[in-house]
Amino acid sequence: MECSVRNQTGFEYLKTNCSSRDRILLINPPVIESRYQWIRWNQPLDLLKLSTYLKVNFECDVKLYDFMLPVNNRVSRTANKPDSEIIVNGHSFNLWRYGNADADFSQWLDNMTVHWRPTQIWLTSLTSYWWRGIANTIARLKNRYSDIPIVLYGKYPQLERSHASERSFADVLIKDELDLSDYSADFDLYEHQRPSFCALDIRSNTWQQEAEQQFARGISNFVFFNDPLIKNSQQFREGMTEFHRLNLRSRTNLLPKFYGICGLYPSAFTADVAETMKKVGFTELHFEYETKAGELDLAAYRQVKESFKEVEYDLQPDQLSGFVYIGLPDDDLKQIIKHVLNLFEVFGSVILKPWTPTPRSKLHSKYKDKLPTDRIELFSPHLFPFSCVNGIRPEEYDELYVLVAALNQKVRSRAFDCFPGTLAYEMIKESLVREVWKVPR
């Protein structure tokens, strides 16, 4: 089934295959998953930057179809029935398809092809285990355009080259990541519906100018996808101060807002950093899980709390939280619950972050024999691929979610999308609202 798929580096391919005559269609494909968290924050930053690169260096004509563009801050399930079912350790998970329907995509292609037929199509994906949405989309495209090369870019071909070569149906796999950090995201690609936020790359030397540009277009929410976000505290503060000097607040009624949703480690957080973040307008901070010898690094978390106090940085529980990773090979439920309660003490709000190993990483290699190699969809953290190693059943993780959701419900005005609708969740929520622990006098 493997059919002359080309493996090339990104720049090598672009250099030999792109010219000003090219019409390039970029696609952010749909996602097939058991749960789709952080639905607000999916943005195909790599494609948006690639578009700028193609326009600047080759004068290509570029269009984008984003299956996952949130509408009213939501990405909905495509249908009210599951796409498929998957069994993990005897536990059945429904896989749902998220994003625009294929019928809408076909309609869009029908309308577009009349005047604009692509000469190349590029797809990307945030993770390798979302390959099914990519393969389905490529198969659909191959049914329509048998003569147009389809290029696959992103984590999937980088991390799972062999799988992608066999199952993705792409003609070209880009095996590396293009360093386009100094190219701004091309938001002009969103012709009719502008996204509500702009993803930035902290590594870029020009992210401040890019944020300024997008702010001028009416986009005032910014997020960094970098991990870690603060590699060098001094550098981070200088970058933020440079942005602050632009004084965007004085230009419109809008306030620029930053959301720290990933890569924020407590040990890198100091009072100086807190002050800088407060100054530039970070309105949500979610701290990564940091442990020392299996225990929560409480010193680091305390330092975070002290820093907030020191600079009088008041964030509400729904704006501030700590992640607790679950799904690791050495997970211990008691330990997790302890860490959850500890973090509640610190932040008042906790988010469980299911974890999955990066293919070819140390941990991945260590347990390689126990992990499925040809079913990479099972690497989704929501399916708890290490449950076979740590002995914790998926339903026990579910109960953990319910517990955290219930705790969050008490203190947060808007909870994350945990398990609404389940009986346990509803019962606990109701009990908390009624404060049933209070003994009537």
Partner: protein, 676 residues
């Protein structure tokens, strides 16, 4: 003769001896209110007005109409306006100025609004000079002629305006015209004959005069309440006064000098009129005029039936009406402005259907438009009939309007042809609009009923018009019949092509679904191996491939239309109704017969196999999938289900190497695959 008074105050006129019950009957001809009010605009048109301003009072109690037409002398008012049949003699004078043919003819216009208000006030002035004749009987030394005018003019107003053009003494058969030196005009409205031979007692004096009206303005008030209540009075001859009249003179520096105008005010609008005008718009989505507010309805209906201009932006004017609607023979008042309570001035333009509101991209290309051009036995008319692809809104546009002298006669209709039509043809009437402008004929007294809202059906011209438009048999023929036939034909071809495209879409969707199902299961780690193995193996076929290909495209003709296959064209298909051709864009995705299967493209070929031939065959060497399109199962299953079943069962059979259970599982998975 009117009663005269010596002072300048108003005096009363008589109704001319017509039985009041007849007045009452005639006043009921014009309904509803806008039909009656349009008569006042028609009067302005007849008076050569360029501009008309209509204003409804804030309290809805009165409405004014002011025009810049030629105005009236008080003598004309007396003779033409208030007398039944008064305008009859005008017809004989032919066209009035500007080439306009006169609208009014029956001489009952002043009664039009009688039922809708308590009184009508008319103020008018003109630049014309009135010329008249007065006969004076008896002994005549000094003659007091001012008392003998048909209308009351205070003697003081005659000064410098009244001039004797001739004075003739008639005695028996002898007539002698006096020289200017033989008589003298006195300032008190008298004339003194100064020659020595005074006329004998029994002689008659004929006085011809000219009265300069350019500095006179009259004001008349017709009391409709009084007039229409006469029916109940016992002694009609004593109670016949209904109109008071007064005359004013201008000084030379008055701004009204050298102006001509007529201002008519309807005072005391009846409660039912006020209620109708104040009616609010119906709640919810509104498509028809009858659901609009009372005021909007009045304005729209009035705009439709008065002689005003079209909206110049109207597409239909350009494409459908063309020169018919722009004919110089169609005269119109340049500007009619309406102002309602709390409203800005609104320039009235004649509404013409120009696409339904929701259909912003409407143009006439998709519609059927046939011209009307009649020139027969003194009837000359042009226009068009338009058949749209869906029901017309507002519904008030449905039907064919007939306009005589640019005034719509009644509501648009289908000349009674509704009765002759049934089923679909009849329902198509809701999609038809049209207009006929009559330039000659159909304006005779025996053609139009007094209220000008319908024709007398026995009229010869009307018969010609009806025959030309709807025919005269039991079925509808004529131009309307032709439009209906073309609409039916168009609907049939549209529906056939739509069904053809839908079928192709479904066929293509089934192919893509089949491809997606194979790709989905073929890439599964566990159960995809058999499929992958099958498509990697060498499978040759020798049965169906030799059969004749089934051509899924329609034949060279479709309902009489030529079918033309194109590979490069704008859009996915085009129906050229004029050339009776259907163009299909075969480059469109729906005609694509190739599917993508696990990394390879296969062509799906429908074959004309026999019932003994297999349902399908898959040739992995040639990369072709043959489907037995003539198989009897296809008739029972339908195209899409048959296509999928035929391929899936064959594929499952081969892929599972004869393992029935695996084959069933795979086939059912593939058949029930539902890509979103």
């Amino acid at each position: 003769m009117p009663k005269h008074k010596d002072n300048d105050g108003p005096i009363s006129l008589q109704s001319g001896g017509v039985d009041p019950s007849i007045l009452r009957e005639l006043s009921g001809i014009y309904k509803p209110f806008f039909q009656a009010f349009k008569e006042l605009v028609s009067n302005a048109y007849d008076a050569n007005a360029n501009s008309v301003r209509i204003r409804l009072a804030a309290d809805y109690e009165s409405i004014d109409i002011v025009d810049d037409g030629i105005g009236m002398t008080l003598f004309e008012f007396r003779a033409d306006f208030t007398r039944l049949g008064g305008s009859l003699h005008k017809i004989q004078r032919g066209p009035i100025r500007k080439g306009r043919l006169r609208i009014g003819s029956k001489g009952i216009g002043f009664l039009a609004v009688a039922r809708y208000c308590s009184a009508m006030e008319i103020v008018s002035t003109t630049l014309r000079t009135h010329r008249g004749k007065i006969d004076i009987q008896g002994k005549t030394g000094t003659l007091d002629f001012s008392r003998l005018f048909e209308v009351p003019i205070p003697p003081r107003l005659l000064h410098n305006r009244f001039r004797i053009t001739s004075l003739t003494v008639v005695r028996g058969k002898t007539r002698r015209r006096l020289r200017p030196s033989e008589f003298e005009l006195l300032p008190n409205g008298r004339v003194r004959i100064t020659n020595r031979k005074r006329p004998a007692t029994s002689c008659k004096v004929e006085l011809r005069y000219a009265l300069d009206c350019s500095t006179l303005e009259f004001k008349a008030i017709i009391d409709y309440d009084y007039l229409l209540s006469l029916e109940n009075k016992m002694d009609l001859s004593q109670l016949s006064d209904f109109c008071t009249l007064s005359v004013n003179g201008f000084e030379n520096d008055d701004e009204r000098v050298k102006q001509e105008y007529t201002r008519i005010s309807l005072k005391g609008l009846k409660q039912f009129v006020v209620r109708d005008l104040k009616a609010p718009r119906k709640p919810g989505r509104v498509r028809n005029i009858e659901s609009e507010s009372g005021l909007d309805q009045f304005v729209w209906n009035l705009s439709r039936c008065i002689p005003i201009k079209y909206d110049p932006r109207n597409l239909i004017k350009l494409e459908a009406g063309g020169s018919n609607l722009e004919s110089p023979q169609i005269q119109a008042i340049d500007s009619v402005i309406f102002r309602g309570p709390d409203q800005q001035d609104l320039q009235l333009l004649r509404p013409l259907w120009s696409g339904n509101k929701h259909d912003k991209d409407w143009n006439t290309a998709d519609d059927i438009i046939l011209p009307i051009d009649i020139n027969q036995s003194g009837l000359r008319a042009t226009g068009y009939i338009l058949g749209h692809r869906e029901a017309l809104f507002p519904a008030e546009f449905r039907g064919i309007a007939v306009r005589v002298r640019n005034v719509q006669i009644g509501a648009p209709s289908f000349f009674g042809s509704e009765q002759a039509l049934t089923g679909l043809s009849r329902s198509l009437l809701s999609q038809i609009t049209g207009e006929v402008n009559v330039f000659e004929g159909l304006d005779a007294i025996d053609a139009l009923n007094p209220g000008r809202d319908s024709f007398y059906e026995e009229n010869g011209h009307y018969k010609i018009l009806r025959r030309q438009i709807v025919g005269d048999g039991e079925t509808v023929s004529g131009i309307l019949g032709a439009v209906i036939n073309q609409m039916l034909e168009k609907m049939q071809i549209l529906s056939t092509v739509e069904s053809l495209l839908l079928k192709a879409n479904n066929y293509r969707a089934a192919l893509v679904n089949l491809s997606m199902a194979i790709n989905h299961y073929g890439t599964n780690a566990t159960d995809g191996a058999s499929l992958r193995e099958f498509f990697s193996s060498t499978q040759r076929v020798n049965g169906l491939s030799h059969r004749e290909d089934y051509d899924s495209l329609p034949g060279p003709r479709l309902l009489g239309y030529r079918v033309m296959a194109q590979h490069q064209m704008e859009g996915d298909h085009l129906i050229d109704f004029a050339r009776k051709s259907v163009y299909l864009n075969l480059a469109h995705e729906r005609w694509n017969k190739r599917i993508f299967v696990l990394g390879q493209h296969y062509e799906v070929v429908a074959k004309m196999g026999s019932s003994n031939d297999p349902l399908s065959e898959i040739d992995t060497t040639e990369r072709k999938v043959y489907v037995n399109w003539s198989h009897p199962l296809r008739q029972q299953m339908g195209d899409v289900a048959f296509l999928k079943s035929a391929v899936v069962w064959k594929l499952s059979y081969h892929a599972c190497g004869g393992d029935i259970e695996s084959m069933m599982d795979l086939a059912l998975n593939l058949l029930t695959f539902d890509g979103v």
